[in-house]
């Protein structure tokens, strides 16, 4: 029994597969939710890190660069354990799902920040000069002139990280998040049949990542480029 569904182990492999599908789909929903929350966190924190790293003041830029490097060079699992087991000591108790999604988002923010940086640096110096000559503030230059040119160019690269995040969600199973792989493992533990649930996880993952890639491509194509030449 899991999520109120029971498995059918007495009518062959196909009946078993069919009976556990609803459970795996419940897990799949959690996987998708964790990916989306994690991706959202990665997009937001990554942009913040990119903006800070690009600051002219070294007091701002240097710590941001250090944080990025630190996040990138430590394993996701270590960060996850840290958030899950250490934060409660300081009175911050988050649900396992949120902790996991946050850890994913933070880990990937180090990567997305580099993507943003590349996009930001690809904006021509002349754009900054024109903005300055018109007396537009540095902040507004960043938000209204640099970012609108940088972000559309990096959508495909950011999208690739969405797919990577999806594939890292199973790590969250170690902190009891019932994402798809964890569900499959529980089913295997209970029924002594690992082959069928794990194969199904593989197949569902393949479908999931293919669909996600397709969505990223559609977003990229349909996003208004408005006069931007994309290289």
């Amino acid at each position: 029994m899991l999520f109120g569904y029971s498995w059918d182990t007495s009518h062959g492999e196909w009946a078993f597969a069919l009976s556990i599908l609803p459970m795996l789909l419940r897990g799949l929903v959690v996987t998708i939710e964790a990916s989306i929350v994690g991706f959202f966190v990665a997009m937001v924190i990554g942009l913040a890190l990119a903006a800070l790293k690009g600051a002219r003041s070294r007091i701002v830029a240097w710590p941001a660069a250090f944080v990025t490097e630190f996040i990138r060079d430590t394993p996701l699992l270590v960060q996850l354990f840290f958030l899950y087991y250490v934060l409660p000591d300081y009175g911050i108790i988050l649900p396992a799902f949120l902790t996991g999604a946050l850890a994913l988002g933070i880990q990937y923010s180090a990567y997305t920040s580099e993507v943003y940086r590349a996009g930001i640096e690809a904006v021509e110096p002349g754009q900054h000069e024109a903005a300055k000559a018109l007396d537009i503030t540095p902040r507004r230059t960043f938000t209204h002139i640099v970012l609108p040119q940088a972000v559309p160019r990096v959508i495909p690269a950011l999208g690739n990280y969405l797919v990577s995040i999806m594939k890292d969600v199973p790590v969250l199973s170690v902190v009891t998040v019932l994402e798809m792989l964890n569900v499959a493992k529980i089913i295997g533990d209970q029924t002594f049949d690992y082959l069928v649930p794990l194969s199904m996880v593989g197949a569902l993952y393949l479908i999931l990542t293919l669909v996600a890639s397709a969505i990223v491509r559609i977003v990229d194509v349909s996003l208004p480029k408005r006069g931007l030449s994309l290289r």
Partner: protein, 258 residues
């Protein structure tokens, strides 16, 4: 003569050990149209870029409208200017770039209204009215809703001129405005600049290789060489009867290149 609107007092610009401006003394009167000519690397574009505060100076003082540009007066002394002072000073100047530097993700109209709205605080309607008036001036009324990428180089540069004018500067800086254009598109841009020179009281500082044009519109021509003004005078003096051998060399080299 009244107080000059631009005055360079022994201005030095260095990149490492390379000297770009060598104790330059240079001034421009209110409403004057001055053309700067000279070989590449002579520091002529640097003069404009420093005035627009796109590049710092290494020494000396520049006055714009009587106020030091790169310095602030503090207890009678001159201290390096803070960002607030530079922002205030910049509003007096407008610049047209060789590579246009239009904002590619904004329509032509938006290119013209962005700064007036966000910097000068104009309402949407005021900014739009001002933009439309300027588009009429540069002959691009029907292109207001296009993106820069949909326009020819000459049209883009005319937008660049209109965008700078939208801030109502007292001084317009033109940094080789036609150098990036196909030859057949140069004329339309020069026509706009000529109109501005003839019909407005703007102070204009122009760096160009279009010698005939410089001769037509300038009150004064300065020949730059090695970070200094080697020779200056009326267009007829400089182009008709240059005193310096170096000026003669440069002009004949330019003419042969044509």
């Amino acid at each position: 003569m009244t107080e000059p609107i631009i005055a360079f007092d022994k201005v030095v610009k260095r990149y490492g050990s390379h000297i770009v401006l060598d104790e330059l003394d240079f001034s421009v009167a209110q409403g004057e149209k001055v053309t700067i000519i000279g070989p590449s690397g002579s520091g002529k574009s640097t003069v404009l870029r420093i005035l627009m505060t796109l590049e710092t100076i290494s020494g000396g003082v520049i006055y714009v409208g009587g106020e030091p540009l790169w310095h602030e007066r503090k207890n009678g002394d001159l201290a390096p200017a803070g960002e607030a002072h530079l922002r205030k000073m910049r509003t007096q100047l407008g610049m047209v770039f060789q590579q246009f530097n239009l904002f590619p993700h904004m329509t032509v109209l938006r290119n013209l209204t962005e700064a007036p709205r966000s910097v000068l605080g104009l309402s949407k309607a005021e900014a739009k009215a001002r933009a439309e008036e300027l588009l009429k001036l540069v002959g691009l009324t029907e292109h207001a809703d296009k993106f820069p990428g949909q326009l020819s180089g000459g049209q883009q540069q005319r937008v660049g001129i209109a965008r700078a004018l939208a801030m109502r500067p007292r001084i317009m800086l033109f940094d080789e405005p036609t150098s990036a254009l196909d030859p057949e598109l140069v004329g339309e841009v020069l026509t706009v600049i000529r109109r501005l020179a003839e019909e407005h009281d703007l102070t204009m500082l122009l760096v160009t290789h279009e010698m005939r044009f410089a001769r037509e519109i300038s009150d004064r021509v300065c020949f730059f060489d090695k970070g200094k003004i080697r020779e200056e005078g009326t267009p007829d003096e400089i182009f008709g009867n240059p005193r310096e051998e170096r000026t003669r060399q440069f002009l004949s080299a330019v003419r042969e290149g044509k």
